[in-house]
């Protein structure tokens, strides 16, 4: 549903850009939304580690959400890492993904849509998601959504993003954290349209992988289990504190 809506808006405003983005939209808009939700959830887990005493119920619910997303991404085969030679491309792809998110946010606000792909400048309140994701990119370009790789890389990339979380925790630099999350609370309604596609109801039809959302029982694969093991590690650290 979200992908279709976005297309219509694009036709209304920026027909020349639509062609370039059309290929990405149908397949990856849902993946982008899902990735964005995953990023947000990991940030939330990180934040609750910083609180005086984390609310266990909240932590468990967020961790379960992260698990669900990962299971689905593993099913889709999108839980993967970049092959080393493609590392150079990954940061640009990352910019594109966040660009689309920001663009959708702008459109919802009724402001002019971002000029185009070439303009890597991110705008609007959703831009605050960008520092989180782009900060990850130079560290571990493996975490780009589109490239394919083996299970070992999966473990590596997730492990690295956890490492980054724990490093931030250890430095406990409040100004740095505030910088990252200062505008997270600002117009959250913009995120609604961006992520509406994650809600119940119609899903972008053509993409087979998205059917995984409706599946009741994800079959665990070995790579899935190793990823879950890393997540369990996070949960263990959180709940043992």
């Amino acid at each position: 549903m979200f992908a279709r809506g976005l297309k219509r808006k694009c036709v209304g405003h920026e027909e020349d850009v639509e062609g370039a983005l059309a290929g990405l939209k149908t397949v990856s808009s849902y993946s982008l939304q899902r990735q964005s939700l995953l990023d947000m959830s990991l940030v939330k887990l990180q934040l609750c580690h910083m609180l005086v005493e984390p609310n266990l119920c909240r932590s468990v619910l967020i961790a379960n959400t992260v698990r669900q997303i990962q299971e689905e991404m593993t099913q889709d085969g999108t839980w993967c890492a970049v092959a080393p030679q493609a590392a150079g491309r990954a940061p640009l792809d990352r910019l594109v993904s966040t660009e689309i998110l920001c663009r959708a946010a702008w459109e919802q606000e009724g402001a002019h849509p971002a000029p185009g792909l070439g303009n890597g400048h991110t705008q609007g309140p959703v831009s605050d998601l960008c520092p989180v994701t782009s900060a990850q990119a130079p560290r571990h370009p493996q975490s780009s959504v589109w490239e394919m790789d083996g299970p070992r890389e999966n473990r590596g990339s997730f492990h690295k993003s956890l490492d980054q979380i724990f490093e931030t925790l250890e430095t406990k630099n409040p100004s740095c954290m505030e910088e990252l999350f200062s505008d997270v609370d600002s117009p959250y309604y913009d995120l609604d349209t961006v992520l509406t596609g994650m809600m119940a109801g119609a899903r972008p039809g053509p993409c087979e992988g998205l059917e995984g959302l409706a599946a009741a029982t994800p079959g665990p694969s070995s790579s899935c289990k190793s990823d879950l093991g890393e997540l369990d590690h996070v949960v263990e650290i959180l709940v043992e504190t």
Partner: protein
């Protein structure tokens, strides 16, 4: 259900600068206790209705205020223990004194509230201020006499039940036997005797051997109102477990499991979070249970485990906003729910200082607002409506203008009459049914 405009304008009490964290009527409804984030408890008492002052019929006045819990520091974990009062439960009154249990995240306290309206005067050895008399001035003996004095309400801590919980206490419930009570945290439920503070019995333990396997926590629990061996606890996955303490010492195996199968067409990444039960309450009859999850309230029949017998939508218009509500953490808000005295109407809070009431018999529902405007003397309490696009009436509020910082999490209903207490952040609203009081 009577129309909303038969409700009198509410009493508005500015209880404290602190956010009210719990509200509870006692068993007769004469007393109303509130706890706040600063660890204070404020008790209100209903004034007896008199013909001389018809306008103050049955109004609640402050009866007593005391500091129940103080902030503490756990040196072992280097964590602060909040003094916020999570729950208050009254004990059934057994003599002239009133007793209540109040709890923060870690410690439960039993408080005794007594009245003193007489004091002895005419001591032989002490003077009026209590200072020892110079014995040489005492020439005769007198018998001290009780003289009336201004009413003084004294509150004293009688028991402190500490060190029973590793995790945060979310509920306490007094057993119908009036001797025991239970306290539940995220992973365990303990049974205490009211007179014994140095030990408790663990009756439920859902902590996994390996904490990495933790996926579900206890969110609320309550004893059955009549059967002292039965209690229920709810989980973050939306299930209810009815346990019988006669079956085993450790009630990890439930007697009944109440769970509604997930609707596959409504499934999203937020399905589990919104199914988490934030409150569970037995009906006064003991036949039903009321649960609150993020978007609905459900009535369950104890005899049917497969699904609830009634489901009421509290604010379904939020279903399309779940992602934003996840981002700003509102999706984790824990709303409470309440039955009226006859179990015919149920009530729960929502956002924008709205609260909702559902009549189980007529199937009608109403949305009301706890606001300063509604507390003016001539104000008529009118039902509110949230519009979701489409036709919009004059006083409707659109979903996007809802204030999510104004949440009504805590509500209580008088055990017998149509009197409700609504906690809106740091204000307490008490609504009374006009019709009732006109009869006196």
């Amino acid at each position: 259900m009577r129309e909303a405009d038969t409700l009198r304008p509410p009493q508005l009490m500015e209880v404290s600068a602190d956010i009210i964290s719990t509200v509870e009527f006692n068993h007769t409804g004469e007393l109303l206790a509130t706890g706040d984030k600063g660890g204070r408890v404020v008790i209100f008492q209903r004034e007896p209705e008199s013909k001389n002052a018809p306008h103050s019929q049955g109004e609640y006045d402050v009866y007593s205020t005391f500091q129940s819990h103080e902030p503490e520091f756990d040196y072992l974990k280097s964590l602060e223990i909040e003094e916020k009062i999570n729950k208050i439960k009254w004990l059934p009154q057994q003599n002239a004194a009133h007793s209540l249990l109040s709890t923060n995240d870690k410690t439960i306290k039993l408080w005794k509230i007594t009245e003193r309206d007489k004091r002895p005067e005419g001591y032989n050895l002490k003077d009026e201020e209590g200072k020892l008399k110079d014995l040489s001035t005492v020439t005769s003996l007198q018998v001290p006499v009780l003289k009336p004095m201004d009413l003084m309400v004294e509150v004293s801590p009688r028991r402190i039940f500490a060190n029973g919980h590793t995790y945060h206490i979310n509920s306490i419930s007094v057993n119908s036997d009036c001797e025991t009570y239970m306290s539940a945290d995220d992973l365990r439920i303990n049974l205490w005797h009211l007179a014994i503070t140095d030990r408790s019995f663990n009756i439920v333990d859902i902590k996994p051997a390996n904490m990495e396997d933790l996926t579900e926590v206890i969110t609320a629990s309550e004893f059955h109102p009549h059967h002292c061996n039965l209690f229920v606890y709810s989980s973050s996955k939306g299930s209810l477990r009815l346990c019988d303490m006669r079956a085993a010492a450790l009630c990890d195996k439930h007697s009944k499991l109440f769970e509604e199968p997930e609707d596959p067409s409504n499934r999203s990444f937020f399905s589990e979070i919104i199914s988490s039960v934030s409150d569970v309450k037995f009906s006064h009859s003991g036949r039903y249970m009321l649960t609150r999850d993020y978007l609905t309230v459900k009535v369950w029949d104890l005899n049917m485990e497969a699904r609830p017998i009634e489901t009421y939508q509290v604010h379904d218009y939020l279903r399309s906003k779940l992602c934003s509500l996840y981002e700003n953490d509102c999706i984790f808000d824990k709303f409470e729910c309440a039955w009226n005295g006859s179990d015919s109407v149920i009530m729960t809070g929502a956002y924008n200082n709205f609260f909702r009431m559902f009549d189980r018999n007529t199937k009608r529902d109403v949305t009301l607002e706890a606001s300063r405007e509604s507390s003016k003397p001539r104000a008529v309490l009118k039902p509110r409506r949230v519009c979701v696009g489409g036709k919009r009436r004059r006083d409707d509020i659109s979903v996007d203008s809802l204030d999510f910082t104004k949440k009504i999490l805590h509500t209580a209903w008088h055990p017998a009459e149509n009197i409700i207490a609504i906690a809106a952040t740091n204000n307490l609203y008490i609504f009374q049914d006009k019709v009732n009081s006109d009869m006196h």
